[in-house]
Amino acid sequence: MDALVAQLQRQFRDYTVSLYQLGFLDDQFTELKKLQDDDSPEFVAEVLSLFFEDCVKLIGNMARALDQTGGSTVDFSLVGSSVHQLKGSSSSVGAKRVKGLCVTFKEYCEAQNYEGCVRCLQQVDIEYKTLKTKLQDMFNLEKQIIQAGGKVPQVSIN
């Protein structure tokens, strides 16, 4: 039992570290984790689900804004504000890659570069979905650890 827990814990640690190292997450996520305690045990999951909902909504908005007009009369300010929001929320949860993409996206938006925007939108879409699956995996691991009776280890990234 303990061996399983230890293995799971190691797996979890490695996985988390890899997420950091691959640049999916940054220290803001750590901050987020710190906020989770016994008072709000599901805080991280809650925030993340909020974030992903936000993502779906914002990406949908942007897709509509970019799609319907075919590039000629796109309301870039609309897209821009959505990107800004997405950037804010992604930076708050520490979704580093999404945030980075948002920065690029925003530049394209300001330059009114339709192609770039569309490309970024697609990338953001892919990226947030990837992140979602990754985090899903991570939460699954956490659950497994808890089920196995272990304690979710604090992972520090250095």
């Binding site: 940054d26 220290d27 803001q28 750590t30 901050e31 987020l32 906020l35 305690d37 709000s40 805080f43 809650e46 925030v47 909020l50 974030f51 909902e53 936000d54 504000s81 800004h84 929001q85 950037k87 804010g88 929320s89 992604s90 930076s91 708050s92 949860v93 520490g94 520090s156 990234i157 250095n158």
Partner: protein, 1210 residues
């Protein structure tokens, strides 16, 4: 049209091609230019409008974006201008030439023609006049002859006898002779009588002899036909009779002497009519005079003969006919003379066209078989006359006008003037013709005209060429200017590009530092975690704190690099806040000393005492300046020292200071003057502010900078030696930032001359000193009889330190190594052995000797021995023995230890074990020294008080205590807390000058009194240690302490306006974790609404609270609304943060409320910050939210108001 399209095509050329392409273009255009310089005029015409257009000042209006195309077109415009001017010149000169030629020629020609006409007229007139006079003469002579004949015949009227008749004839002969001789021009005079008798005198010009011709008298009867018949049968009777008579008559020719008329020889018989024409009755048919042109055998010119009848007395019948013949020879002669002078030909013809006289020598008569005959002009042998006559004939035909003036008659291959006049003489009309070759009159004129034309043309060609050259030379200047202008435009373009690249550079830097900030934040965060860990030893704690400091410095640096782009774009706004200058610099030196010690370089901070502690300015930038300078120095210094010197000048007393501190400021003459200027300015602009000029010097013993590079090192990416990057790394950006910042602070930086190795960077800054600040808190140590023994390995730091100490009246002894230290210690404390140890005294220098003797004279000295740990031999275990040795003197002196950052724990524990608690990290600087001294004094006071309390114990130092002034003693020994509390209470009795600044207390790592008082015990010592540790903690990480306190925001109610759910959630949890009550709203409008509602209800509640005063909570008073603070996102739907803030602030007008609003924004530029503050926000946080920063911000804002309110309520 052509020109337009041409220019458009040029201007629409792309303006940013590669330079090579441009060059090519330039070349092509040059070739084109040269080619077209000599091209046909149509091009110039077509180019003319374009050139005008450009000349009209488009050059000025052109924007620089068309720079390259413009410079290309300028070549064309110059070329076109030249061409146009040349064409204009050509036209001008051509016109001038033509006009000149025309007028000269035409006028000359006309006047000449008039003259020539007159001449011709005259020419013709004269022969005609001569002719006329000949005619007149002939006629007069004839008339005279007739009259004489009539007279003679009347005398012998009706001769009846032969004798009478002969007599009459003789008389006639005499009369006629007389007449004949008198008129030499006459050729012949003939008288033919009615009866057929002929008398004639004749001159033969050939033989110049005169003859008398007469007919035989015998054959004539006196009674001829009746006179009565004459009138009736005038013509026929006479004619027939004469012919008949003559036929039968015998004629004689008698030669006469031409002068006397005497007969010469015998008369010869000649055939009748052989010699001369005898005018008969037939020639005067109507009794009038008649004219004939005749020819004679002997004359080669025509003769003019006139015939006149002689009437009898009754005037009814003709008795004789007189004929006078004159040769026209003289006319011809005249004409020849005339022609000889004037040239050309003249001839006279009769109306029928027979030649009468010519100007030539050619014959006028044709010899036919019937004798000579008159010749027609057209048949003349003379070519000119013939041709002229033919031309006249051809041109005018038969009915020729009386006067003809033909100017351009072409005869042969020459042009002639032909003029013809008609002289209408009765019975003998004469036509005169003058033929003058045009050459004679106009020849010269034509020649001149031709020459003039040639000269004019060549002159104009010359002028044109010279003009062209002049234009080329003149426009050369213009074209040079054009080229220069093009060059300028290119330069501007290049500059723009360079600026753009500089912008990219700044952008890159900004991006880079932006990226670097994240890992740095992680480092700091981790350090915070480490600091909050409880299991750290003090040393570790200090180290970690140091690391954290460095990290924050690095982060600050990164932020500053981010700002450098802002400096360069002029957007940097310097902060204006009070800060402790000395402390900042000390921290900086601390930070760098770690690096320096690794380098075996001393870092020394040498601030003069008059430096203000508190100044207003941007501390971060100031630190950045020195951080850059020091790190730069460290980079190049391998051994020696780095000194950061600082002194100050009050702007108002600048002049005095200048004169006083001459030697130090000598190399600064130019800056001084600048400073004075500046001062004048600043005095005007900010009279009220207490400005100060702070001078700093960073002096190192590095490799130095070549004087030629002194200016350029401050340029961006400029390094003194290109190999620097390889050997030392770096970007060459540091000094650039420094200069920018220094300039921004109203100062200047410069490399100055240094004696010896290394570099001195000297700079001055102008900073404001807050008025209320207690500027100089200079403790007075001289009263305590302190003796400091500085034993430090670094000579520079030691010297500076001892100098300072001596200045403050503290006796100081220096020792540079262990031996010296022991020597001095022995000298000082082992007084007994001192006299004896001669050998040791030999080692001590005389100055030191004097110093030592001075110290001996101090009563009750307090010895402080500052020992650099480096003096001990740490490589082996000898240091323990050395410590033991020193320990022997611990009762007599206080030891303060200078540790290195890497001093091992064993040493530290050993020291602590020995009771040495005064340990400071290197480097030693003024503040640390003061701290040590104060600690010593404090301990001294404690021990004194102990002695005072139990006097009976009779400590060996008890007799000294009485000398200490109680007041001084009290104030100087008052510790931190009492001091702050006394300040808070506004205790004015405490003299600021003697008050050690509270911050000065915080430098000792670990300090405890040397335990020479057994009664105080370990408990007290521990207390002390705790006290110090706590203080140190607060010094090194104030934030970390906050971080530990999880519930730091307990009881604070926060309104959070945030539209992003994620952020809202995170922030809410974060704040709630720290004990705050959070209300979240989704946009600015809701925030405003929430506030309005709450404030209304709050007012109600205040009423209630007032009713029940007992229940008044602090929050009720704290703020009239339910919220202590608002966290406001800047970008929100419906109403953004700025608008919401404005609305809230508007609502607050008139009330005393001021709810703190903190902006949350994802933009991290200070311009955004400015915007936030402008709309009335109080603080500014960037996303993602940094917890600590947020907490500190919130606390600072809420406690401010709470303290305010507490004091208000109190």
């Amino acid at each position: 049209m052509r020109g337009d399209s041409f220019s458009v095509s040029i201007e629409s050329l792309p303006d940013s091609p590669s330079s090579s392409r441009k060059k090519k273009k330039k070349k092509i255009s040059k070739v084109f230019d040269k080619m077209t310089q000599w091209v046909t005029p149509w091009r110039s015409k077509s180019d003319l409008p374009r050139e005008r257009r450009i000349l009209r000042g488009d050059v000025e209006q052109e924007e620089f974006q068309y720079a390259s195309s413009h410079c290309l077109s300028s070549y064309y415009s110059v070329f076109v201008v030249r061409l146009a001017i040349m064409v204009m010149l050509a036209i001008l000169i051509g016109l001038l030439t033509i006009l000149t030629w025309h007028f000269t020629r035409i006028y000359t020609k006309q006047s000449l023609q008039t003259l020539a006409y007159g001449l011709r007229y005259e020419l013709l007139q004269r022969p005609i006049l001569r002719m006329w006079s000949v005619l007149n003469t002939t006629s007069e002579l004839t008339t005279a002859q007739v009259k004489l004949s009539e007279y003679v015949i009347r005398k012998y009227d009706k001769p009846t006898t032969q004798e009478e008749l002969v007599e009459m004839y003789q008389a006639m002969k005499d009369v006629t002779w007389a007449l004949f001789t008198s008129a030499k021009a006459l050729n012949a005079i003939t008288i033919k009588y009615r009866n057929g008798f002929v008398q004639a005198f004749h001159r033969d010009p050939a033989s110049s002899s005169t003859y008398y011709i007469f007919s035989d008298l015998k054959n004539y009867s006196i009674s001829g036909t009746r006179p009565e018949d004459v009138s009736m049968t005038l013509g026929h009777g006479w004619h027939n009779h004469t012919i008949h008579g003559n036929m039968s008559a015998i004629w004689y020719q008698q030669q006469l002497d031409p002068i006397t008329g005497a007969r010469l020889g015998k008369p010869l018989q000649i055939p009748p009519d052989d010699l001369i024409n005898i005018a008969g009755i037939s020639q005067v048919p109507d009794g009038e005079a008649s004219w004939h042109v005749t020819v004679s055998k002997y004359m080669d010119s025509p003769l003019l003969s006139a015939a006149l009848p002689v009437f009898d007395a009754s005037n009814k019948s003709i008795v004789a006919v007189v004929g006078v013949t004159t040769a026209l020879y003289s006319v011809g002669q005249l004409m020849r003379d005339l022609v000889e002078v004037h040239g050309g030909h003249i001839y006279l013809t009769s109306q029928e066209g027979y030649l009468l006289a010519t100007s030539t020598n050619g014959p006028l008569l044709t010899n036919t078989s019937k004798g000579p005959k008159l010749m027609k002009a057209i048949d003349s042998e003379e070519w000119a006359i013939k041709a002229g006559a033919q031309w006249l004939e051809k041109t005018y035909g038969r009915n020729r006008p009386h006067e003809i003036h033909a100017e351009n008659a072409k005869l042969g291959d020459q042009q002639y003037y032909i003029d013809s006049f008609y002289l209408n003489l009765k019975r003998l009309p004469i036509v005169g013709v003058v033929i003058i070759p045009r050459k004679f009159i106009m020849g010269k004129v034509d020649e001149r005209a031709f020459k003039t034309l040639v000269i004019l043309i060549s002159a104009s060609v010359c002028i044109f060429i010279i003009g062209c050259v002049c234009i080329l030379i003149l426009t050369n200047g213009v074209s040079k200017e054009m080229k220069l202008r093009a060059e300028l435009i290119r330069q501007l373009d290049a500059r723009r590009r360079a600026e753009a690249s500089s912008n990219y550079k700044s952008q890159f830097l900004a991006n880079m530092s932006h990226e670097l900030r994240t890992p740095m934040a992680a480092v700091i965060g981790l350090l915070d975690i480490l600091i909050s860990d409880d299991c750290l030893s003090n040393e570790q704690y200090a180290t970690v704190t140091q690391i954290r400091k460095c990290s924050t410095a690095l982060l600050r640096l990164l932020n500053n690099i981010l700002d450098l782009s802002k400096v360069e774009s002029g957007k940097l706004v310097l902060e204006e806040a009070e800060f402790d200058l000395g402390r900042e610099l000390e921290g900086l030196v601390d930070m760098f000393s770690v690096q320096c010690i690794n380098h075996n370089v001393e870092t020394v901070l040498d601030l003069s005492d008059d430096m203000p502690t508190l100044v207003r300015g941007d501390s971060a930038r100031l630190v950045q300046i020195f951080a850059n300078l020091i790190s730069n120095s460290i980079k190049f210094t391998t051994t020696g020292h780095i000194i950061l010197r600082g002194w100050c000048e009050n702007l108002n007393s600048l002049h005095d200071e200048m004169s006083l501190t001459g030697d130090r400021k000598k190399p600064w003459a130019p800056i001084k003057t600048k400073l004075v200027h500046h001062r004048n300015h600043s005095q005007k602009s900010c009279k009220n502010e207490n400005k100060m000029v702070l001078w700093f010097e960073v002096d190192d013993t590095g490799c130095g900078i070549d004087p030629s590079k002194w200016d350029s090192v401050f340029e961006s990416f400029e390094q003194a030696d290109p190999s620097t990057t390889r050997t030392h790394g770096g970007t060459g950006l540091g000094l650039c930032i420094v200069r920018n910042l220094v300039n921004k602070m109203g100062g200047d930086i410069k490399v100055v001359q240094k004696n010896g190795l290394g570099t001195i960077m000297r700079l001055y800054l102008i900073l404001t000193i807050p008025d209320n600040a207690d500027q100089i808190c200079q403790p007075d140590f001289s009263k305590y009889g302190l003796v400091v023994l500085l034993s430090m390995s670094g000579s520079t730091a030691r010297m500076i330190q001892s100098k300072w100490l001596r200045k403050h009246g503290i006796a100081t002894v220096e020792a540079s190594d262990w031996n010296e230290l022991t020597q001095i210690i022995r000298d000082l404390f082992e007084t007994g052995s001192r006299e004896n140890s001669f050998d040791s005294q030999h080692n001590i220098a005389e100055s030191l000797r004097a110093e030592l003797s001075n110290i001996q004279e101090i009563k009750n000295p307090v010895f402080v021995i500052v020992v650099d740990i480096g003096i001990l031999d740490l490589t082996t275990d000898i240091w323990k023995e050395q410590l033991n040795y020193l320990d022997r003197f611990s009762s007599k002196a206080k030891f303060a230890w200078l540790l290195k950052h890497d001093t091992s724990n064993t040493v530290k524990t050993e020291l602590r074990r020995k009771g040495h608690v005064m340990m400071v990290n290197k480097p030693l600087y003024k503040a640390k020294m003061i701290q040590i001294l104060e600690a010593v004094i404090k301990n001294r006071k404690r021990s004194l008080s102990n002695t005072m309390s139990n006097r009976g114990n009779g400590s060996d130092e008890s007799h000294d205590c009485l000398e200490i002034d109680p007041t001084q003693y009290d104030t100087c020994s008052s510790d931190d807390s009492s001091e702050t509390s006394s300040e808070k209470q506004g205790d004015k009795s405490v003299k600021p000058s003697t008050l050690p600044s509270p911050v000065l207390k915080n430098y000792l790592l670990d300090i405890a009194k040397s335990n020479d008082d057994p009664t105080s015990g370990t408990q007290k010592k521990q207390e002390e240690e705790e006290d110090w540790k706590d203080r140190s903690n607060r010094l090194y990480s104030g934030i970390a302490l906050d971080g530990k306190n999880q519930k730091s925001l307990q009881g604070i109610r926060i309104l959070l306006a945030e539209d992003t759910p994620v952020l809202q959630r995170v922030a809410t949890i974060m704040l709630e974790k720290m004990g705050a009550t959070v209300t979240a709203v989704w946009d600015g409008q809701q925030a405003v609404d929430a506030l309005n509602y709450k404030s209304i209800s709050a007012q109600d509640s205040i009423q209630e609270y007032k009713l029940s005063e007992q229940e008044t909570t602090q929050s009720g008073f704290q703020n009239s609304s339910f919220y202590d603070l608002i966290l406001m996102d800047c970008q929100m739907p419906k109403m953004d943060g700025y608008e919401a803030t404005k609305a809230i602030r508007r609502a607050e007008i008139g009330t005393e409320l001021h709810i703190p609003i903190v902006a949350l924004t994802a933009h991290a530029m200070s311009s955004d910050e400015a915007k936030c503050l402008e709309v009335g926000m109080d603080a500014y946080l960037t996303k993602p939210i940094d917890r600590k920063l947020m907490v500190s911000t919130i606390l600072s804002l809420t406690t401010k108001s709470s303290t305010l309110l507490t004091s208000f309520s109190a």
